[in-house]
């Protein structure tokens, strides 16, 4: 470990280390940041959800966007896997279907950064099989 | 000087900053009772752990009661020493202390002299509302000191004396809470510890937890036994303190009354240890001069300084603390033992009494003398040179017990031949006295000139460590003096480190010397008493016709008739001794 010789050294070091625990800090106050849930059930994983998720995490981190990417169970849109739910603070959550790595990039650039909705939204009146069962 | 103004019991008080409430109250005539607190002014010794809580007083604005002994006066303080709250608290605390104290005052050695008993009386305690477990420890009976620590009230005075003043460090508080008590390591008997029997713990104990081994019954038994001839020797310090036990002012010299009382008690002969003190000077002085002359002649093997060896507490101290320096102290026995050795040979012959039928009793200001008289090297075929040693206090008790009105006694003289002494023998009782006595003789022997002034004022005083240079007609003799073993340790460590410049050092274990011995009447913390005793000793010296040991005619006769010359062959056999390494060692096994 290199010694910190000045307060600036410490600040630099902190900046470098910050990302190590932003995940934990963000999970404590998710309402204040972008939350993305990736459907990671068998169907999702089979359709490449894992790659999508990895891409999202890395890309958001590269762009220094405060976001929490979590996995979730099957959302019930098996026809449109991989599906992700994007929840911007203060807005209603939006679900996109068929999100491959390319689509994910667009979501970040246009929806999360730009604030505009993209094609491929699965309408909210669309109920999931689980919810159907409950009815 | 910073001044603080306050009110105690509505009386305005002005004191120096740093004064305790206890002293401030005393200055306006308010005596706050204390139990653990003890201040020995002239010795710079103070014990105030603030533990007994008997001295609590109410200070306006404070949440709790404050211990007067540990609370400094501050500007504008308003203090009440006897509010209801204080009275109730003080009495409750005393009741608590008494609830853990054996109620055996009738047979207690301290009955009538016990601070705790006095306090209970003063507070008017008639019953104790608490019942419950009482502390129970094993009694420890060493050759000189009895520890009956069920009676310990944890005032910690003994611990302070043993550690801070004497640096013997044999006592410490042990355990904790209700189980806590002051004891030697592993609660071992004192006999197995590094205790020197200096008795300073006994001298300050407010209760009967620490006391001397009482030999008065054995003395009575000897006196009653018609087959025995019982003689007594009395140490110089006894005559200036014994009177206190009979209500006399401290500093009264009662030599004549004492001799009278001893005869009335039935002793066959009443002698004086001072005689043996003169003898000690002859031997020790000769040894000093001998070593000095060899040293001056360039003999590298000779060890200087020479250390006095009259004090048995001191001897015990260096045997367990400085075993590497056993060859430095004088080999001369103490006066008590010289007396015994001469009594059981020369005197017994003269009196025509067999050794085993002669009982030598000593009256000493000292507890270590009890141990010393029992040392194996001071016995011949198991028969000790000194059979029984009692303290000033025990003698007083015997006189009272015999219904002798001490104050009304006429003065009587000691018997001869071992009752004649010089002023030099008398001053053995004071710190600096032994070395002054030695100087008087050594000067004249060495210079072959007569001293113009026998008082060596430079050697006197009360400071713990003193030094002076005495001019032996052009030869400067450097002398060191220490009283109290803590001070002795400092001088000894210098010697050990080769830093000491002294030719001779006098050491006495007890603060003030023998006048402050552990067997003297209790001073109850008033060191003014010690000073008065010391002054009386010098008065007694001044009143003596002969003031130099070598001029004592009976000493001269003793050498002529019996011993030959000082440090001669017979002297060596009878009047000199050797020392032992008493440091404890742990055994270790090989793996």
């Amino acid at each position: 470990m290199a010694k910190v010789k000045t307060l600036d050294d410490l600040k630099k070091m902190r900046a470098d280390l910050q990302s190590k625990i932003t995940l934990r800090e963000n999970s404590d106050r998710p309402e204040k940041m972008v939350q993305i849930k990736v459907s990671m059930a068998t169907c999702g994983i089979a359709s490449g959800a894992k790659e999508t998720m990895n891409y999202l995490i890395e890309e958001l981190d590269n762009r220094a966007i405060d976001a929490v990417v979590t996995q979730t169970g099957c959302m019930g849109y098996c026809h449109s896997e991989p599906t992700i739910e994007v929840h911007l603070p203060g807005n209603d959550p939006v679900v996109y279907g068929n999100v491959d790595v390319k689509k994910a990039g667009e979501v970040i650039t246009k929806h999360i950064v730009g604030g505009e909705l993209l094609d491929g939204i699965i309408p909210t009146n669309y109920t999931t099989p689980d919810e159907d069962n409950q009815k | 000087m910073d001044i603080v103004k306050l009110n105690i019991d509505n009386k305005p008080v002005v004191v120096e900053k740093g004064t305790t409430l206890l002293d401030a109250a005393k200055s306006v005539g308010v005596d706050v009772p204390t139990l653990c607190h003890m201040k020995l002014h002239d010795l710079n010794v103070e014990n105030n752990p603030g533990g007994c809580r008997v001295c609590v007083v109410e200070v306006e604005g404070r949440r709790n009661l404050a211990p007067a002994c540990k609370t400094e006066c501050t500007e504008g303080m308003a203090v009440n020493t006897h509010s209801l709250r204080v009275v109730n608290a003080r009495r409750t605390v005393m009741e608590l202390i008494l609830s853990d104290h054996p109620a055996e005052c009738l047979t207690c050695v301290k009955n009538g002299k016990c601070d705790l008993q006095t306090m209970a009386q003063d507070l008017g305690i008639r019953e104790i509302p608490f019942e419950g477990e009482q502390s129970c420890y094993k009694e420890d009976k060493s050759p000189a000191i009895i520890r009956d620590v069920d009676k310990c009230i944890m005032c910690r005075r003994c611990e302070m004396m043993c550690n801070e003043v004497q640096t013997v460090g044999c006592l410490s508080a042990i355990n904790r809470g209700f189980e806590s008590v002051v004891a030697p390591a592993f609660e071992m008997d004192l006999e197995k510890s590094t205790c020197t029997y200096c008795g300073q713990c006994v001298a300050v104990c407010p209760t009967g937890a620490l006391s001397e081994v009482d030999n008065s019954r054995k003395v009575l038994n000897a006196l009653v036994d018609t087959t025995k001839t019982v003689i007594v020797q009395t140490a110089p310090a006894v005559r200036v303190a014994l009177g206190e036990e009979f209500g006399m002012e401290p500093g009264n010299i009662v030599t004549g009354k004492m001799a009278s009382a001893l005869r009335k008690l039935g002793f066959d002969k009443v002698f004086d240890t001072d005689f043996a003190a003169d003898l000690t000077i002859m031997e020790e002085g000769t040894e000093l001069l001998g070593r000095l002359q060899k040293h001056l002649a360039g003999d590298k093997d000779v060890k200087l300084p020479i250390l006095t060896s009259c004090c048995p507490g001191w001897v015990n101290f260096f045997e367990s603390n400085f075993p590497d320096m056993l060859d430095i102290p004088s080999t001369a026995k103490s006066p008590q033992q010289m007396f015994g050795a001469i009594a059981k040979t020369y005197l017994a012959d003269k009196m025509g009494v067999k050794r085993e039928d002669l009982v030598v009793v000593s009256v000493m200001p000292c507890l270590a003398k009890k141990y010393e008289s029992g040392r194996d090297e001071f016995k011949v075929d198991g028969n000790p040179d000194v059979d029984l040693s009692i303290t000033t206090r025990e003698l007083a008790q015997m006189i009272k017990g015999a219904n002798i009105n001490f104050g009304d006694l006429n003065d009587e003289e000691f018997d001869n031949p071992m009752g004649e002494s010089t002023g030099a023998g008398v001053i053995f009782a004071n710190t600096g006295g032994v070395i002054e006595a030695a100087a008087r003789t050594a000067y004249e022997v060495h210079t072959k000139k007569k001293l113009e002034k026998v008082e060596f004022e430079a050697l006197r005083g009360f400071d713990g460590i003193r030094s002076a240079t005495v001019d032996f007609d052009g030869l400067p003799i450097k002398i060191g003096i220490a009283h109290g073993l803590g001070n002795a340790r400092k001088l000894l460590e210098d010697v050990q480190a080769g830093k000491s410049e002294f030719h001779a050092i006098e050491i006495m274990a007890c603060p003030g010397g023998c006048i402050g011995g552990g067997g003297q009447p209790y001073h109850h913390g008033d060191t003014g008493i010690l000073k008065k005793r010391a002054a009386a000793i010098y008065r007694e010296d001044e009143g003596k016709e002969i003031r130099k040991s070598h001029e004592n005619p009976f000493i001269v006769k003793l050498y002529d008739e019996f011993l030959g010359e000082p440090c001669g062959e017979l002297s060596h056999k009878l009047l000199h001794t050797h020392y032992f390494d008493k440091k404890k060692k742990v055994e270790i096994k090989n793996d």
């Binding site: - | 460090g169 044999c170 006592l171 355990n175 390591a185 592993f186 742990v586 055994e587 096994k589 793996d591």
Partner: protein
């Protein structure tokens, strides 16, 4: 007190500890901690060595050893049983558990069974208050112990 002979190598280890602490009297408690690790307990002989090395009086060392409950002058049993008597454990019945250990082993608190197998002590709060009452046997922790469990716990070590 039975006198014992200490092993040479352990004594040397202890002396090294004293040296490491530069024979500082103020480090007495740290030295005693180390000594207790080396010997398992603090018999008189060990205290004598510590006193000698640090140049403090043996009475003082003993005074310190007997003041602190962590120091012990008796060797612990092969399986030292400690019952937590923190308040949380107490109100959840630790005293009954302790009584049961004492009864079954026929020893008092702080004692070791004659065969040297178990010693029983109480301690103040292990900090596992969620598991109260808590018992430790050596390193092992038992939580939510009831008096009737005591027999089973002991049988694990028989």
């Amino acid at each position: 007190m039975a006198e014992i002979k200490l092993a040479d190598s352990k004594v040397q280890e202890l002396k090294d500890v004293c040296k490491k602490f530069e024979y500082d009297k103020g480090e007495l408690i740290n030295v005693l901690h180390a000594a207790q690790v080396i010997f398992g307990y603090l018999p008189a002989e060990v205290q004598e060595i510590v006193a000698d090395e640090l140049k403090v009086n043996i009475a003082h060392v003993y005074g310190v050893v007997t003041f602190y409950s962590f120091f012990t002058m008796t060797p612990k049993g092969e399986h030292p049983v400690s019952v937590c008597m923190g308040t949380a454990c107490y109100v959840r019945g630790a005293e009954k558990v302790l009584d049961e250990f004492k009864r079954l082993l026929d020893v008092k608190v702080g004692e070791t069974t004659p065969d040297g197998k178990f010693s029983v002590s109480s301690l103040r709060c292990v900090g596992a208050c969620g598991l109260a009452p808590v018992v430790t046997v050596g390193e092992k922790v038992y939580g939510r112990v009831a008096p009737e469990d005591v027999k089973d716990i002991l049988s694990e070590y028989n």
